[in-house]
Symmetry: C2
Subunit: 102 residues, 2 copies
């Protein structure tokens, strides 16, 4: 694997009344996650990549992200949730069940 964890945040924007991940803070929270991973020394080949993505096609369950190669999908609300995903999953290897999408 080129990256141990490759994380994709949906940053898609849709016009109202359609909902979209961007309306739930995904743009700012992807940037936050990327910075946080860098601060922790986790960014880079063999480690973690926090990526922007277009629509991940799970709008109704968003905002959403997916962690590969595991294929674990998460939703999130705020920085607290992002911190928990980073610390538990990306550092500790333990899936955060309370934020996991079915």
């Amino acid at each position: 694997m080129h990256f141990r964890y490759h994380v994709f945040f949906c940053l898609n924007e849709r016009e109202p009344p359609d909902d979209c991940c961007a309306r739930h803070g995904s743009i700012a929270l992807q940037a936050y996650a990327k910075d946080r991973v860098k601060q922790l020394g986790l960014a880079g080949a063999g480690k973690v990549r926090i990526n922007k993505a277009g629509c991940l096609d799970r709008c109704a369950q968003g905002p959403c992200m997916v962690v590969y190669p595991e294929g674990v999908w998460y939703t999130y609300v705020d920085r607290h949730d992002i911190d928990e995903i980073i610390e538990s999953h990306l550092v500790g290897g333990k899936v955060v069940e309370r934020l996991r999408l079915p």
Copy 2:
């Protein structure tokens, strides 16, 4: 896995003299791949998703895409290469070694 194959194309654009995947046709070829997968009836949950992504951080080896959950990285030149990746890997499950990134 929510998608059997989740494919991310780097569509990132950088200012010259920096090179970028967008300058090698990635935007048009991602759209082509997405249409082709839809035409073949492969698109959707449990099947294939062709996704837009921001910079995948392999600019020097681009244009690039990655297929998860396998974590197989490809470069490509034109529609012929995209067709081969779809038919061999996404339909047949066989990696296209000649286009694979190390």
